[in-house]
């Protein structure tokens, strides 16, 4: 292994450390005061510094050093991690990422910015630290109480460092010990009020309470006050809450980790019982009369002291359905967090409490594989699928009775190839987390420039999608986030005036929906100013002045080229190449984008994308003797046109009436130049497709052969781009079939694609 390879590994690890650093800082920003989070952040910076020292990356080392010093003050409780402190730290994390990138790819950093941050960090470290004897001069603050070197390659490589840097190991037990060992078995009050979602997701209060009981001596009271009379009871609702007094030496984290997988679906309050008055106050606050509750009785009838059998059955069913899902979630989370989890005391405690998690983290080992190798495997499997289809077809042609053992073997082969294909595709599937994390930085930067206060909330970061999709998602998302902060959110004064909190919220969520990934970006800003959009569209000749457009159509106007409503062109967005570029890049991925907006309440952009770019569900059709594939996602419906439904419109245009609305007919064979004259629509089949801008077109094809999943093959690799054709595929008979680019065909049928958009209102 030569130096460059080691360096490459270092940079890969840097990326992981930076991600760890950022997510840790964000957790701290959200009020997490877990010492382990601070440690994780510290460790990340420390590892980067150590590795950078080994490669003599001086800029990186000196910045990381200052950063580390300040973090050490936080770690030793000399510096309170307030919002202001964390703001500086998040910026420092960004600069650290920049420095890392520069160290790898060359280029230059904003020296002034990093110098400024170094000053800020130093001020924080000095200013807030008590001027006592152990006051941290930056150097002295670096902990040197190393018992054994950290067994990471980075630290090992860092040993011969000219900075006099010593790899540091710190025992996590010691950390816990310092703070918690002093108090013997502190008592906690836990108030646990499950919501009904908890049960529908297959969690169970009994199991959680039982897990809790393993932490130490506890007493439990069930509050059944909110239980309605039987006739008014919703069998799927949750009515009980529990108050648990527990004595444990495992600390608050262990208690919280019991509820780790349920925390979104329950109200959980955790009070250290030492603050006796505080706990009393809480009890008074809640209108709760603790009822003694026997845990063993709970075991026998977990949810239904009243014996509501349906409830149990439903929950059992729900559990069965969600069990697999939950298990896979756990595996996923464990896999993603495996590095952190191995070292993380909190996660270790969770693992002890959750057998599932323990098993999963044991299984959640990962390896790094060169992307080219994976792609080669995927290509080969694609060919295997085609070959298998060809083989099946020729066997079927030659084997008339269809019961031979060859046929049965082929069927198994087909199943196997499909399974192999799915598994291979799954290798490329990656969580969207890295992209979402990059967005956090974008939000910070833009919030800084615009002077707005913005919080980014992300959900479903572990949703997996093909790596190519992830890679191509970053750019449109960045653009949309910029738009959301710059145009969507109001200035703080305006927000106050509108009765909103000063801090705007931008929410980014990802989830799987029927074989696609849906990414939603919402803001709680002013929403789309429809009057302004409309006026702008009229000014730019996009629509006629008297066009009668629905709200939805007006909202969708922002996706047009050259459309920007920002009063002044700002640095961030509003260069007039905004949402149309976003829309095009989403469409290039085979996705769709939609907007819905409520005045005064904000806007929601919804993107739906395919999970992979390697295969596509298509409808195989015949056009002028040629076989074409139409992406299934584009097709709204298919219909057999009636002679009476076809109306000539002008010299060459024809319209088809569908349920009393008229839709232009587009002869695919004519557009692609497969035939010289238009075919007779009555002899063919019409595919109703949704095109850009929401308008519909009826594509005329000669016949439909069937529906098939096809492997996408690039035409550009050996040829050039062909207008009207998105890509090619290979069918079961071994011949190449072309995949239709529906949007291009529709655009070609319009002639001038954008300006004819006015007909949208008239035709719709």
């Amino acid at each position: 292994m030569d130096m460059n390879e080691i360096k490459e590994i270092f940079f890969q690890e840097c990326e992981e450390q930076l991600a760890e650093l950022e997510s840790g800082l964000l957790r701290l920003n959200d009020g997490d005061r877990d010492p382990e989070t601070v440690n994780a952040v510290f460790r990340a910076v420390h590892s980067i510094k150590g590795g950078a020292g080994a490669f003599a990356l001086d800029d990186l080392v000196s910045f990381a050093h200052v950063f580390e010093t300040t973090l050490d003050c936080v770690r030793s409780n000399k510096l309170e991690p307030t919002q202001d402190v964390l703001k500086v730290m998040l910026k420092s994390a960004d600069v650290l990422a920049d420095l890392t990138n520069v160290a790898r790819d060359g280029g230059s950093v904003d020296q002034a910015r990093s110098a400024q941050l170094i000053r800020e960090l130093e001020a924080l470290a000095k200013g807030e630290a008590p001027p006592a004897a152990e006051a941290p001069a930056p150097k002295a603050a670096t902990p040197k109480a190393a018992s054994a070197p950290k067994p990471a390659p980075v630290a090992a490589a860092a040993a011969p460092n000219d900075e006099g840097f010593v790899p540091v190991a710190f025992s996590f037990d010691d950390f816990g010990g310092e703070e918690e060992a002093a108090i013997e078995h502190p008592a906690y009050e836990v108030i646990f009020k499950p919501k009904s979602e908890l049960y529908t997701k297959g969690n169970e209060a009994t199991l959680l309470l039982r897990d809790l009981s393993r932490l130490g001596e506890m007493s439990i009271h069930c509050n059944m006050d909110s239980l309605p009379p039987l006739d008014q009871m919703d069998p799927e609702a949750a009515y009980f809450s529990w108050k648990v007094s527990i004595k444990t030496d495992r600390g608050e984290d262990a208690i919280r980790s019991v509820f780790e997988f349920a925390e979104w679906d329950c109200e959980l309050e955790l009070i250290a019982a030492d603050a006796g008055e505080g706990a009393d106050g809480e009890t008074e606050e809640l209108p709760m009369q603790p009822v003694p509750f026997d845990l063993s009785a709970l075991d026998e009838e977990p949810h239904a002291p009243l014996g509501v059998v349906e409830e149990e059955e439903q929950i059992a069913a729900a559990q069965a359905v969600t069990a697999a899902q939950t298990a896979s979630n756990v595996v996923q989370m464990a896999a993603n967090a495996s590095r952190a989890a191995a070292a993380d005391k909190g996660a270790a405690a969770a693992a002890a409490a959750q057998n599932n998690a323990q098993q999963a983290s044991a299984a959640g080992q990962t390896i790094r594989v060169d992307l080219d190798r994976v792609d080669r495997l995927i290509n080969l499997v694609g060919e295997l699928v085609i070959n298998q289809a060809m083989l099946s077809q020729s066997v079927i042609e030659n084997d008339s009775n269809g019961v031979s053992s060859i046929n049965m073997g082929l069927e198994e082969l087909q199943q196997l190839t499909r399974e192999i294909q799915d598994s291979v595709m799954a290798i490329r599937a990656q969580p969207v987390k890295p992209v979402f994390q990059r967005m956090a930085r974008t939000v910070r930067e833009i919030a800084d420039i615009t002077g707005k206060s913005v919080r980014l909330v992300t959900e479903g970061e572990n949703t997996e999608v093909d790596k190519t999709v992830i890679d191509k998602l970053a750019e449109p998302l960045t653009h949309m986030i910029r738009n959301a902060v710059d145009h969507g959110l109001e200035m703080p004064e305006k927000r106050l005036a509108a009765g909103k909190s000063v801090e705007g919220t931008v929410k980014l969520t990802a989830k799987h929906r029927s074989g696609r990934i849906v990414i939603e970006l919402s803001d709680d800003g002013a929403g789309i100013n429809r009057e302004k959009v409309r006026q702008k569209a009229i000014d730019n000749d996009l629509i006629a002045a008297d066009a009668n457009l629905s709200d939805e159509e007006i909202d969708n106007l922002i996706f047009h080229a050259g459309f920007s409503t920002a009063d002044k062109v700002s640095d961030l967005s509003g260069r007039g190449v905004g949402m149309d570029v976003v829309k095009r890049s989403i469409q290039a991925l085979g996705g769709r984008i939609n907007i819905s907006s409520k005045p005064g309440q904000g806007s929601v952009f919804t993107m739906s994308l395919p999970l992979t770019l390697a295969v596509l569900d298509g409808m195989v059709v015949t056009v002028a003797g040629q076989t074409l594939v139409v992406p299934l996602t584009a097709i709204v419906e298919t219909l057999q046109p009636d002679a009476a439904a076809i109306h000539s419109f002008g010299a060459t245009q024809r319209l088809i009436s569908i349920r009393n609305s008229f839709c232009p007919l587009v002869d695919v064979g004519r557009i692609l130049n497969f035939r010289a004259t238009q075919a007779n629509p009555v002899e063919g089949v019409a595919l109703l497709v949704e095109s850009e801008g929401g308008g519909q077109r009826a594509l005329m094809v000669d016949a439909i052969q069937g529906q098939r999943q096809v492997v996408i093959k690039s035409l550009e690799a050996n040829y050039t781009h062909v207008p009207g054709i998105a890509a090619a595929t290979i069918l079961g008979d071994g011949r190449v079939a072309l995949i239709l680019d529906v949007d291009a065909v529709v655009a070609a049928s319009r002639g001038q694609p954008l300006h004819l958009e006015t007909s949208l209102a008239a035709a719709g």
């Binding site: 040629q626 497969f674 093959k713 050039t720 062909v722 207008p723 054709i725 090619a728 072309l738």
Partner: protein
């Protein structure tokens, strides 16, 4: 293999000669990947007339050029006797439809005569030289000029 190696080291080069109509042409053997029989191609919309379409070459999409039409002669009517010479130039692979492959020639660089000075487009674009072998005249084709690069883009 040793035969090939020996010839290459002695400054010789090998060419594949093929026939279109009554004329003979050749290309450098190093750019030929394989030779295969004709299979029907899927026509491409908006393609130049000399592009017959695309075929499946073990999972890759391979465009087929009618070399006869490309060189300005009459378009071929492909039959099962026709062959496709799969060639690679730079990183693109393209199939050339020809009537038959006739020979593998081992020649020396000095055997290649410059093309006679004529004003035809063919001479300027495609011909890199001519060879006189056994009273036959074989024209050395410039493959890069044959491949459609951006022409079809404009169509």
């Amino acid at each position: 293999m040793s035969y090939l190696a020996k010839n290459l080291t002695s400054g010789a080069r090998e060419l594949i000669a093929f026939r279109i109509g009554d004329q003979e042409f050749c290309v450098n053997i190093m750019s030929v990947r394989e030779i295969r029989g004709w299979t029907p191609a899927t026509p491409m919309p908006h393609a130049p007339s000399y592009v017959l379409g695309v075929i499946n070459l073990r999972g890759a999409v391979l465009p087929i050029i009618d070399l006869s039409a490309r060189l300005g002669m009459k378009p071929a009517e492909p039959t099962v006797r026709h062959v496709i010479i799969v060639t690679q130039v730079k990183n693109k692979i393209v199939g050339l439809l020809v009537e038959a492959v006739s020979d593998i020639l081992t020649i020396r660089d000095e055997d290649i005569q410059p093309t006679p000075d004529m004003s035809s487009e063919f001479e300027r674009t495609f011909a890199r030289g001519v060879l006189a072998i056994d009273k036959r005249m074989i024209c050395l084709i410039e493959l890069e000029a044959v491949f459609p690069q951006t022409e079809s883009e404009a169509a």
